[in-house]
Symmetry: C2
Subunit: 419 residues, 2 copies
């Protein structure tokens, strides 16, 4: 079968059950569109299954996060979901953490929780083996499932009970080292947001249940955001009324108000966990000191939803190329004959040029293909029809702008590879 | 800093706390070596954290499995760890599944389990949306955490309570379709094993708690294997005393006995779950029929342990190149000066040639570096010393054979890229 190439996704094989109607239980646009585009399905309240298209988006986001963590010298690990109560008793959080902590007992009646965060686990992991100042600084991270038993989970991936996060933990000798680690994470988060074309602001934040002193949140601007944020165009964000940032032209300018979705948070933990759990290193002067720690979370599955909140129109999702489930959709307006054959050839040429491509040569009406392509939100559409082919041209449509233009048949692949 | 290149792992930054002594709690060689090489650490009984080197191995295995699943047209999804009891009541397994099933209740007293397998979830996922025979066959898979509350977990990753598996589920119209899906999975599993240089046999198996009729296990041959298996050199394996395979030279030959570690199992489920849960499609003749299903599991984290059981010596792990945490270790016998600089240059050249490389230029004695390189098990070692450099040569050591040879300085990278 011609389409049975692992490098060309074929819409007649892809499991992406789209919905024409907006599901009544979904309030948020991102939730509606991920359901309608066949990206996720609800398995239980606040618990979702990712279908192939949704999972491709998640893997793209994961890989961007991974690359930016690796680029600043962090090392990837994987920590267990099942966390023994003993470690949470050591940190003091077991009795005080609220009903959001999912607790269970094993067959021997030992208590565990499903990790909402991993400070205890990582501190216990390194405490007897990371012993010398020479090994510091060190930042370990993972991309893994997290659990939080929300009272009323809703909003799809925006606030689930089982979700995917990147969490990183830095270990340093002193406050200066922590400042450097914290700044490195902030820089990496900026790059992550930029690679995903996210419109975001950084705001001061409370440390909450995690603890520590300094903390900041990365907020994706969106009308459906749960928090009001105040910021200046120069990038400064605060609770004051005018910009207090000193070295920018907007200094003293009135601040702007918007709504934001928290997609990441970075914390200076200091010695809260290392002191409570006895995690020390031997410093250059021979004395034992507690690690000065930071922790840095970013919501991988939440980012997928936040991107849709920020980038959509009445027809569907508008994915940036870097996280789209595929970069180009080749739409064959006829499912058979020369049109379908040409479309398949173009799709294979794109795949050979390392463009992620999906081919829609189903026996459906053109209107159905256009509507689904816009709903799913492929960044570029390459439209192959009978009339155009007779004139030696195909149509290229940019999903974000809606602009279309004709391209000579033999130049279309080159154009899409470049763009 | 010269070594701060994301493409060259540096041993002075890598978090890989090696142990000189064999941990007393570890009975199996694979468990001992993964602890000693700083690849895993125990967080609780049967629950492990993966350190950077161990996690690199797991990601390699995952990617091999993913590529072979994609190559036979399977589509990757991700299903929740938290599974609602209702679905297990529908299939009838909730009351009968033993204490290995980890159960918990949420804040609203609703019952859940931590998935040991996902037949219920996947059947519920597709049952109202995969409706036409035209959409079949379809195979969905995931690579995800699984949970099984073992009575006495031990043996490290070989039998944990939280572990990583690939599980695939096929949906077809009839037995012939199931036979084809089952054969495709068997073929993919063979390729997976071959890419990892696994010495394995396929044996008939019981279906156990999963259910269904036909089932086979993929067994890695290893002295520490938990099962005795009987097989003929022709590949046939059975309970009989002589080979009953008809079309091979060894036919009628006495069977051999060995021990095996189960690394994968494939099942023909038939209609057990689709009938119990009302998951039907409309066939070509217009009638509703239950899906004819298969399920196919392979133990990702267990494979890491099984590979060590099969490939090690008294000095440590012997990883095949395809799953090693890096392909080449460049050992600088001096941590400073020309030796260290040449080693760093060679490491960067290897990285530029897309070879995964680790550089050991720590201020340690050569004996320590040799011992750790053998313990971790890098497939190739490139050894740079003062005396060799004076003569314009470096030494290349193959971990598996122990063979070494000298190479001119300017040919070493080329040799390693080729090999």
């Amino acid at each position: 079968m011609q389409n049975r190439c692992p490098h060309v996704l074929s819409m007649d094989e892809l499991y992406a059950p789209t919905l024409k109607e907006t599901p009544v239980e979904a309030e948020l646009i991102s939730h509606q569109l991920m359901l309608r585009a066949g990206m996720i399905r609800k398995t239980a309240s606040g618990i979702y299954s990712y279908l192939p298209l949704g999972w491709r988006v998640i893997k793209k986001i994961e890989q961007i996060v991974r690359e930016e963590m690796d680029a600043i010298g962090c090392q990837e690990v994987s920590l267990p979901v099942l966390q023994p109560a003993e470690l949470w008793q050591e940190s003091g959080r077991w009795p005080v953490y609220g009903p959001e902590l999912m607790r269970l007992t094993d067959r021997h009646e030992r208590e565990f929780c499903l990790g909402p965060t991993h400070e205890e686990i990582i501190t216990a992991l390194v405490r007897s083996e990371l012993r010398s100042y020479k090994q510091l600084p060190l930042t370990l991270y993972q991309i893994n499932l997290k659990f939080r038993d929300e009272m009323r989970p809703r909003f799809g991936l925006m606030r689930g009970r089982e979700f995917i996060m990147k969490d990183a933990y830095s270990f340093g000798t002193d406050q200066a080292a922590l400042d450097a680690d914290y700044a490195a994470q902030e820089g990496a988060y900026r790059k992550i947001c930029e690679r995903m074309k996210m419109d975001y602001r950084i705001v001061d934040a409370d440390s909450g249940e995690i603890g520590g002193s300094v903390s900041a949140e990365f907020m994706a601007l969106a009308e459906a955001g749960e928090s009001e944020i105040v910021y200046c165009e120069c990038g400064f964000a605060a609770d004051t009324e005018v910009c207090e940032q000193e070295s920018c032209p907007q200094c003293g300018a009135p601040l702007q108000h918007a709504r934001g979705i928290e997609i990441g948070q970075i914390f200076q933990l200091g010695t809260k966990y290392s002191e409570a759990m006895g995690a020390t290193f031997q410093d250059e002067d021979g004395t034992d000191k507690p690690f000065v720690m930071g922790c840095y979370g970013i919501g991988v599955s939440r980012i997928a939803a936040a991107l849709i909140e920020q980038k959509h129109d009445e027809r569907g999702c508008i994915w940036p190329k870097s996280v789209a489930p595929a970069e180009v959709a080749v739409l064959a307006l006829d499912g058979v004959g020369e049109v379908a054959e040409t479309a398949a050839t173009l799709a294979h040429k794109l795949a050979e040029a390392d463009v992620e491509v999906v081919l829609d040569a189903r026996p459906e009406r053109p209107g159905v293909k256009f509507a689904e392509a816009d709903l799913i939100g492929w960044p570029q559409q390459l439209i192959v029809g009978k009339r155009g082919l007779a004139a030696g041209i195909v149509e290229i449509k940019d999903r974000a702008t809606g602009e279309t233009h004709d391209a000579p048949l033999d130049e279309a692949v080159g154009y899409l590879v470049e763009s």
